[in-house]
Symmetry: C2
Amino acid sequence: MQSIKKMKEQTWSFLFEECVNPNTTAGKYLLGGKGAALANMTNLGLPVPPGFIITTDCCKAYHDAEKIFPADMWRQVRGQLSAVEAKLGKRFGESENPLLVSVRSGSPFSMPGMMDTILNLGLNDETVGALARQTGDERFAWDAYRRFISLFSQIVLRVPHEKFERVLDRYKNGQRQDADLTTDELKEIVAAFKRLVFAEDRQNFPENVEDQLKMAIAAVFDSWMGKRAVDYRRVNRIPEDLGTAVNVQAMVFGNLGAESGTGVCFTRNPSTGEKTLYGEYLLNAQGEDVVAGIRTPNPISVLEEQMPVVYGELLELTSRLEQHYHDMQDIEFTIERGRLFILQTRAGKRTGAAAVKIAVAMVKEDLIDRKTAVERVSPEQLDQLLHPTIDPAAITEVLATGLPASPGAAQGIVVFHPDEAEELAKQGEKVVLVRRETSPDDFHGMVLSEAILTQHGGMTSHAAVVARGMGKPCVAGASDVNINYGHNEFTVGEMTVTKGEWITLDGTTGRVFRGKVPTVQPQLDEDFELLMSWADDVRRLQVRANADTGHDSEVAKKYGGQGVGLCRTEHMFFGEDRLSVMREMILAGGLGEREKALAKLLPFQKRDFVEIFRAMNGLPVTIRLLDPPLHEFLPGKYELMEELTEMKFKARHAEPRAMDFLLDEIADKRKLLRRVEILSEANPMLGLRGCRLGIIYPEVTRMQVRAIFEAACEVLGEGVEVHPEVMIPLISTVEEFCHQAALVREVAEQVVKEQGVKLDYLVGTMIELPRAALLADKIAAEADFFSFGTNDLTQTTLGLSRDDSARFLPLYVEKKIYADDPFQTLDREGVGELIKIAVTRGRAVNPKLKIGVCGEHGGDPRSIEFFNSLGFDYVSCSPFRVPIARLASAHSTLGK
Amino acid sequence: MQSIKKMKEQTWSFLFEECVNPNTTAGKYLLGGKGAALANMTNLGLPVPPGFIITTDCCKAYHDAEKIFPADMWRQVRGQLSAVEAKLGKRFGESENPLLVSVRSGSPFSMPGMMDTILNLGLNDETVGALARQTGDERFAWDAYRRFISLFSQIVLRVPHEKFERVLDRYKNGQRQDADLTTDELKEIVAAFKRLVFAEDRQNFPENVEDQLKMAIAAVFDSWMGKRAVDYRRVNRIPEDLGTAVNVQAMVFGNLGAESGTGVCFTRNPSTGEKTLYGEYLLNAQGEDVVAGIRTPNPISVLEEQMPVVYGELLELTSRLEQHYHDMQDIEFTIERGRLFILQTRAGKRTGAAAVKIAVAMVKEDLIDRKTAVERVSPEQLDQLLHPTIDPAAITEVLATGLPASPGAAQGIVVFHPDEAEELAKQGEKVVLVRRETSPDDFHGMVLSEAILTQHGGMTSHAAVVARGMGKPCVAGASDVNINYGHNEFTVGEMTVTKGEWITLDGTTGRVFRGKVPTVQPQLDEDFELLMSWADDVRRLQVRANADTGHDSEVAKKYGGQGVGLCRTEHMFFGEDRLSVMREMILAGGLGEREKALAKLLPFQKRDFVEIFRAMNGLPVTIRLLDPPLHEFLPGKYELMEELTEMKFKARHAEPRAMDFLLDEIADKRKLLRRVEILSEANPMLGLRGCRLGIIYPEVTRMQVRAIFEAACEVLGEGVEVHPEVMIPLISTVEEFCHQAALVREVAEQVVKEQGVKLDYLVGTMIELPRAALLADKIAAEADFFSFGTNDLTQTTLGLSRDDSARFLPLYVEKKIYADDPFQTLDREGVGELIKIAVTRGRAVNPKLKIGVCGEHGGDPRSIEFFNSLGFDYVSCSPFRVPIARLASAHSTLGK
C-alpha cells in the first residue's frame, strides 16, 4: 500500500515490470484491472509483450486540469517507450524496424462505454513499408494500415464509421469480400481514407507516431467522461473519480505464417469443471479472426500435435497462472513465429456445475481454503444446478442463441399469440410463446406457457422480468430469430419454424433448439454436499423451509432445512375430501353448525401436523393459523351466476314435473350465491383474513390449535421431539395479538393437561403490515417471535398487489422506477426501512425475540444478505431454494 | 398552589369552608370535582348543607398502607363532624336530634365504576325514632331506614341486591307497590333485612354510626381499586395514582311537607340557549322522585307562584353561580321547610344550537372573551347544527328514547330484516332498519337504510359505529322497544308498530317518533357566522374543501373554504355523455385511437376546471391526476356475463336471419368482456391506478395537464386569479414522481407559452403509501407540496380495505382492538407515526414544503388537532364539514 502511495506521488506511468504489488486492491485502482494483470504476469516472468501503464491518477489529473496532460507525463511515457524499444530492438516510428503498439483503456471495474482497443498504432506511410518487409507480406501490411486509419479516426477523431464503410463498398461493389481486395486497391483505399479524414476533420491524418500516441491517450481519458460511461456509473453507483488507466503495449502478431497463431484457453473445463486445459486456437490468425467465426478454430489439444514445444510451454504457463491466482483462469495467447506470448489472464466464467466441482477440487489440491471455496460459487450458479437442464448427451444443433434471461430448460409447441397460447394451454398443450417482445397485454398468455422466447429486449425486458418472476425459462433478445406474425413462423437464417412445431429453450445458457431435446432433473452429487457442508460451517443464519405437508417437510430436510418456517394451514383444506367440509363450515348458519363442521376438519389437520412433526423430528415447526379470506374456499361468483342463468333458462322451457326439481335446485344455488356475494370483497388482500378471522370466529382458532397440540402430543408418545411455534397472521395491533395468543395458550394448556405431557411451545406473529412494524415494541413485549411476511409487507408498503402488478412491473423495472422486482428482491429503502424499525424496536423491548422471514425474499440471496446484516435468526424459503439460502447465508457471513 | 401543597402536608380532611382555592386544577385534584364545587359554593356564601371532604391524598395513603387509614385521619374527621354538628345543632348518632349525612365519592375525573351515593347514613334503631319525630312522619323514617340498610349493605357489605328484593317481594306479593307498604310492614322489613345481613355477612348490621361512617369511607376508597374503575382508567388512560376524595355532607330533606321540595335548573335554556331560568321541580319530594318519573315535575316558572321568596332567592343564587363560573350552570337544589339549599352546580350540557347562542351571548354580556366562546362550542355540537333536525314546531309524542348514536334525523318504513331492507330499498322505498342488535351479516341491509334503530347496544355497538361511519342517523339501545321478529312488529309499552309503518328517528337526541315527522335543513344564523369568524381569528391551519365541480366549489366557499384541497378529476368522467368517450379511450386498440378519444375528453375536463377556477377566484385549487383503476369506468363483469349467457340462449332458438345479427352482437360483447377481464384486478386498491396509469399511458397525463392549464389561461383572461396545484397520486418512489412531474411541467410550460401568459403553479404529490412516507426526504427534494391521503395511507398501513372492513370494524371497536374506526379518526400510533416521519424527513430537506391532508380525517376534529400539532399548512374536507374543521382548527390552536 505504502509503496503504491509513494509511486503515485512521483510517477504518472509505469513499465509493467516497475509496478509494485499490482495484484492488490490499491494496485487495481491505480493501474486498472487489465494493467494490473499485465504487470503481475510480467513480474511473474511470463512472456508478456513489453509495455507500460499510464495510471488512473493521471486520468484524474488530466480532467482536473481541464484536459491537459500533467506536466511530466509525456517525458515519462517517452522514457518508457524507449525502454520497450530497447527491449525489442525496435524504434517507435522508425522506418527500418518500427515498434507498433496497442492502446487500451483499463478502469478498476470493467465498464461498457469505455474506449475500445486501438491496434497497430505507430503505422504511417513509412512504417507500413517496414511492416511489409518484416512480415514479407505487403498486402497484410496495407490491410493493417487501412484498418488502423479507420479505427483511429473513428475512435479518436470521431469520424463516423459508415463513411469508411461507404468508401470500402465502392471497391467491393456489392460482390467481393474484404479478403478479395488487392494490395493496390488497399493502397488506394488508404489514400481515400486519408482524404475522407481531411474532409471531415479539416486536418491531415497524423503521420507523426508520437502525435498518434498522445491523441490516443487523450481519447481514452475523454471516454471516461463520455455519456455512456457516465450513465453506466450513475446507475451502477461507481464513483466518478476513479478514472481509467491506459495500457500501451508492443504489438505481437499471430498472423505471420504457419508458426504463428492465436487462441483462448481455460485452465479447467468451464462447463464441467474437469481439470484439463480447455480452449481453442487458430494458426496464422489474429484474435478478431477467432471471434468472427469465419474459420473454425481447433480444440486446444490439437496444438499438442501441431506445436508440441509451444503447447508444453502453454501448459506450464497456464498452470503457473492458476497456481498464482488460486482460481481457474481464462487466458488469451498469441504465438508469433513460434514464440508464445500471454496477452491476458482473468478468472474464467463457468457454469454452476463447474463452479462447484472446481471449488471442491481446489480445496482438495490445497489451492484454496474452504471459505474461499464457498465464496467461489454464487447462489445464481447454484440456482442453475437446481433447475432442469438440457441433457448434455443429447445436445443437437443450436438453432439460435439469445440472453439467458430466466434459468431452466423447457419445451413446447411454438405459438405466436398470447390468446392462442392461453387457448392451447387450456386444452392441455405445452406451448412456448414466441414474440418479438412482450407487453403487459401478453401476460395472460405468458402465464400459461412453458417458456418464453423473444427476438428483442435485454435481461431486464418485460419478458425476462415476468419469466423470472414466474420461474419459467426465458431466452430474450435472440436477434437471429426473425418473426413473421402474419405467416405464423419465424426464421433463423435459412431455417423456418412454423406454428405448432416443437422447440426447446435453455434459459440457463440462452440456447434455442429445434424439436424436443431431452432435459435432465438436477443431480446433486458429493461435491455439492461437501460444498454445502462448508457453507453450513460458515453461516450464522438458520435456514428453514416453507412446507405444508409431510412430504414437503421431508424434501426440506433432505435439502438441509433446519425446520419449517411457515406451514400454511389453509393449504390443508383444499383436498377433495376436505373442501366440502370447509364449505360446510363457511356456510354454517350459526356457531353450533360451524363448530360441528370444524369438528370434522380437526382430524384432517391433526393428521397433517402429525406427518410434519414426524418429518421434522427435533426441529422447530412454525404453523400459521388460517390466513386467507374464506371466499377462497367457495366456488366463484361467475360460475355460480352462469349456472344459475342456465338453470333459469331451462326452467322456462321445462315440463311441470321437472320444473319442481329445477326450482329447488335454483333456490339452493341462490342461497350459495348469496353467501358468496356476502363474503366477496373488493380487496380481499386487505379484507377479512388473517387474525381477523380468528377474532370474528374464535372457534376456528380453537380447532386449529387443538389439532396442532393433539398432533404434538401424539408424536411425543412415539418418541419424536416436537417444537411447535404457533404463528398469528396479519397482526396490526397488539390487542389483536393478545386476543389470539390468549386463545392459543388456553387451548394448548388444555390439551397438554388432558394428555398429561410436558411440551414447550412458542406463540409469535407475522410482521406483514406496516403498522405492526411500527408498533413492534408493543407486540414484542407479548410475542415469542416475529416472522416477517415480506410478501404482504411489500404489498402494503408499496401499495402494490402481487397478483395484479405483474402486468406493469416489468415496465417499471425497465424504466428503472424500481431497481428490481420488489417481490423478488427486497426493497431495502422502503420495506427494509420498516423491517429495520421493527427489529430495532422489537429487540429493544425483548432482546430474546426470535426473528425470521418467511416471504419469497427468504430465498433471495441479496435479500438474505440484508436479513443477516439485521441480525435475523433464520430465513425460510421454498424447499427447493434451501441450498441457495444456505449458500447465500454463508456468503453474507463472509461479507461477500 | 402553594397553599394547597401546605394543606396536603398537614391535613387529610377539610371542612368545605376551610378549602383554599378549590376552583383550581390543583384544588380539583386534591378535593375531587364534586368536593371542589361544594367547597367553592360554600366559600361564595351560598346555602350549601355543611360538610367536609376527605382528600384524594388520603385515599392514596390508605392504599399505600394496604387499606389502613392514615394515623390522624379519624381524629380530623371526628373534629369536622363536630363542627358540622355545632353548625346545625344536631349530633351524629344522638337519639334526640341526630345528624344524618350523605357519603359520596368524588374523583378528579367523573368515572363510572366508582361508589354511588349513600344517603341517610347515621340512621340506626335509635335515630330512626328521632327522624320520625322530627319529620312527624313515622312511615317516612322507617322507609328511609330500610332503604339505608339495603343500600349500605349492598355497597359496603356487598350483599347482593336481589336478596333484598326477594324479601321485599314477599311483602308486595306481586300486587303492591313500595308506596303501599305500611309502617308496620316496613318495621318488619327492617328486621328481615338485618337478619339477611347477618346471614350473609356473619356480622350484625352496624348500629354504631361512627362504624357506619368509617366503613363507608373505606368502601369509597376501595371502589377506586375496583375492577370496573381500574378497567375504565386503563382504557381512558387516567393515571392510577390520582385517588378519590370522599364527600361527607349533612342531609337535607325535600320531602318534609308542602314547604319542601327538590329540583334541577339550568341558568339558560339548554335546548335553545335562551337566557331564562329553565328546569323543573317537585314539592315534597326527594331527588330520586324527580328521576323516577312517577310524578310529573312542574316547570321551574311555577315555583314563582308557589314559593315567590324561594324562587327569588334561587334566581339570585343561580345568576351568581353563572357569573362566578362564567358558564351556563346545571344546578341541583333542595328546599327543606322553606329553606333553599344548593346541592350541586356544574357546567350544563347543551345542544349545538344552544352552545353557539350562549357562547355568543356571553361575549356580548362581557362574561367571557371570544377565545373562550370558541372553546365553548365543540365540533360535535357544530356537527349537530349541520345535520337535518326534527322540526321543533312539529314535535308530536316521543314513541321511545335510546342513545343518540349517530346524529341527524331521518324517516322510513319499518323493516326488520336486512335482506328485506335491501330488497325494498332497491325498489325505491325509504326504510328504517329495526333490529335487536346488528351484526356484520346485516351490513348489506344497513347500507341501504335511511336510519337504524336497535333495542340493545351502546354508543360503540356495531350499529352505532357502522351508522356513524356511513353518516346515517342511528338510535341505539332503545330498551323500551320490544322487537318480535316472528310477528314482524315491535311494541313500546301498549303501542305496537308493524312492518311497513313509517317512523322517524332523531339520532341527535336519541328520540323515536311514530309516522313522518317533518325535518328541517340546518339554518346557520348570525350567531353562527360570528362565532366562526372568531374561530378564524384564532386558528393557524387553513381549511380547504374537497370539491370536484364548480357547484361544490361554491358551496365550499360559502362555508368558508380557503381553496380546493382535492379535486378528483375522475369524477368528471362519470357523466352520461362522458362515460362513453372514457370507455372509447380505455378500449382503444393503440396509442393513436387512445389519443383520439382523449382529445374528445379534453373539452369536458377543461370546462369543469374553468368553473372551479372561477368559483375559487384567488384561492388555490389542488387537482389530482387520474387515480382509480380503469375498469371502474367499464360495465361490470357479472352483468356482461349474464347478458352474454342470455344472448347465447337466444341464439340457440333464433331464426337463421336473426341469428346473424345475434352472432355479431355476441362477438362485440365478447370483445368487451375480454377487455374487462384483462383489466379486472384481484385487489384494485393495490393495482394499476394513480401515477402508475400516467406512467403506462403518459398521453392521459398530457391531456389532463393540458386541460388544467388551458382552463387556467382562459380564466386568467377573464381577470380571475388562478393558483393551480397539480397533484400526482399514489407515489411510492421518487422516480415515479419525477417521471410525472417532468411531464406536467413540460405540458404546462407548453400551454403557457402557446397562450403567452404568465402563470405560477405548483407540482406536488399525495403521500398515501407507507413507502412514500418513509422516503419523504427524497420526494420532498422534488415536490412543491405533500397532501396526505390518509384514507389510502390507513388502508395500506393497517392492511385494511375501507370497502370491506365495515363488516367487522364495529366488532373491532367494540372489543377495543381499535380505539376508534381508523377511517374516521386517525390512528395516531400507526398511521400518525408514518405521517410524523414523513413531515420530519420532508421538511428537513425542503423547509418550504407545503403540507396538507385530503383524506376523510381532514374533517375530523381529533385528527385535525394532530395535524395542527405537526405543523400542517392546511386540512381539506368535504364542503359540509368545512365549518367543523374551522372550529376544530381553532380549538387545536387554543390547545383545547
